[in-house]
């Protein structure tokens, strides 16, 4: 008998001698074995745990849950979403290789590609349209990268379309803001990356990330033979094997067991939170739209059709409104009583942040334009509070004097 993901999120696969229903917290840095067994585990001949930087029972229970969510062949947890993207990029790229990335990706990822990977001879080419993507695929392309919903561009990527154009390249997607309402594998994604800090945890008490291999890409493809090194002989598991044993183990971006426990706690309520956040966001976006504010939300944008196709009737929990100037945006944010000014996303709490002076502050003018960042742009991530409280909070902020003058 198989159970729905909503049920399996509440009932993780737990191995515990005392019958615990939740993942036991193994805080151990290392695990003892007899000499032969330790040698076998070290050399991949036996199952077991040795050192928490590479694998830990609590972390593995989290990996199992994230993998279950995506119907993948395996997942690996990282210390943050950026650690996850860094490790995947370094595995798939080498000098003279190119990343083909959606133009509106998150500033941290943009900086990784442009400011760090470029130092190692990796070039990033950005695309907006299918034509641009097709035109730029070459023998040097290492992978295609996009976010399901761009932040803060709120651009919705058509994953099925990208998959139809990728040829023999892996399609790597960041699905941080759309877990549960979106299944990347069924749309043709090969690798799915999460910042687990956001919707997976939801409670704002953890920083974490994860990578899922959907099992759809043939890693025996010679393109990655050098990168996969000894693990190229692991067949369809080669990517996960190399990612864990080289790029998790040796770059060191491992997740702590305590944090894995925190993410697992959040994931039990994921199905409820995602839908409630999305419903609240749609309610607020409707309200902003009625007020004739310049709101950017998939329901009202050119991405509606793609969102309708991919997200099961939801439009996500993030949006932006453009209030025209930094001064107005600051006044608006400081007038909010319930919603918080914090740089996080997809938390149970609603958050509003001035994009240009915070999450986009490291970008130049062209990069800001690519991400849709204007001086008056406020990004709003909607939580699970009472929707009428949220509406009244934003209405109150909109009614402050400075806005009456300028809107």
């Amino acid at each position: 008998m198989t159970f729905a993901k909503k049920s399996r999120l509440v009932h993780p696969l737990v191995s515990d001698q005392f019958g615990s229903a939740v993942a036991p917290l193994y805080k151990a840095a290392a695990f003892a074995h007899d000499a032969k067994s330790l040698s076998d585990v070290f050399n991949s001949k036996e199952a077991g745990f040795v050192y928490t930087r590479i694998g830990n029972p609590t972390v593995m229970m989290l990996e199992n849950q994230i993998n279950m969510l995506e119907n993948g062949i395996g997942a690996i947890a990282f210390s943050s979403g950026m650690a996850a993207i860094s490790a995947v990029s370094m595995l798939l790229c080498s000098s003279k290789k190119e990343i083909l990335a959606n133009r509106s990706i998150f500033g941290g990822t943009y900086s990784l590609f442009i400011n760090i990977l470029s130092n190692y001879g990796v070039k990033t080419i950005f695309f907006d349209t299918a034509d641009e993507l097709k035109r730029n695929i070459s023998e040097n392309t290492a992978f295609i990268f996009t976010e399901t919903i761009g932040n803060p561009s709120i651009a919705v990527a058509d994953i099925k379309e990208l998959s139809s154009l990728k040829g023999n390249l892996p399609l790597v997607i960041d699905a941080t803001v759309t877990p549960y309402i979106f299944n990347g594998k069924s749309c043709g994604a090969d690798i799915i990356i999460y910042s687990a800090t956001k919707m997976l945890s939801g409670h704002g008490r953890t920083i974490g990330g994860a990578v899922v291999d959907c099992g759809s890409y043939d890693w025996t493809n010679l393109r990655y033979k050098t990168a996969l090194r000894d693990y190229s002989n692991a067949g369809y598991m080669a990517f996960l094997a190399a990612l864990r044993r080289l790029y998790l183990a040796d770059l060191g971006g491992c997740l702590s067991p305590e944090t894995a426990d925190g993410i697992l706690t959040g994931m039990e309520t994921l199905a409820l939170r995602v839908k409630e956040s999305c419903k609240n966001a749609e309610f607020l976006a409707d309200f902003f739209n009625e007020k004739r504010l310049n709101v950017n939300y998939p329901k009202f944008s050119r991405y509606k059709q793609t969102a309708d196709k991919q997200f099961g009737g939801y439009y996500g929990s993030i949006m932006t409104i453009d209030l025209g100037s930094e001064e107005t945006a600051f006044k608006f944010i400081d007038s909010l009583k319930l919603s918080l000014d914090m740089p996080n996303l997809c938390d149970t709490r609603t958050m509003a942040i001035h994009a240009e002076s915070t999450i986009g502050s490291m970008l130049n003018d062209k990069q800001k334009a690519d991400s849709g960042i204007t001086p008056g742009l406020v990004r709003i991530s909607v939580g699970i509070e009472d929707k009428y409280d949220l509406r009244d909070d934003f209405l109150n902020a909109l009614n402050c004097d400075i806005l009456n003058d300028k809107l």
Binding site: F42, N43, A47, F49, M60, G215, A234, G235, M237, A249
Partner: protein, 69 residues
């Protein structure tokens, strides 16, 4: 049933074991952490239940759990 698992001869009770059952017998709680080769051919996870092991089969488990250098 006599098998060769990771180069070692082993004798297991029962005939017609699936790869899934063999993983349970070998105490592998997280099958996404291992690749399985049956007589030199990789077995995909979705086929673990339907892949049957026969007398004298050669099975290679490659685990990606522990390790380090």
């Amino acid at each position: 049933m006599n098998l060769i698992i990771n180069g070692k001869e082993e004798s297991l009770a029962g005939n017609g074991l699936s790869v899934s059952k063999l993983l349970i017998l070998k105490n592998v709680k997280f099958p996404q952490m291992v690749s399985v080769q049956l007589n030199g051919e990789f077995v995909k996870q979705e086929n673990y239940d339907i892949s049957t092991i026969k007398e004298n089969d050669n099975i290679e488990f490659l685990y990606f759990m522990g390790g380090g250098r």
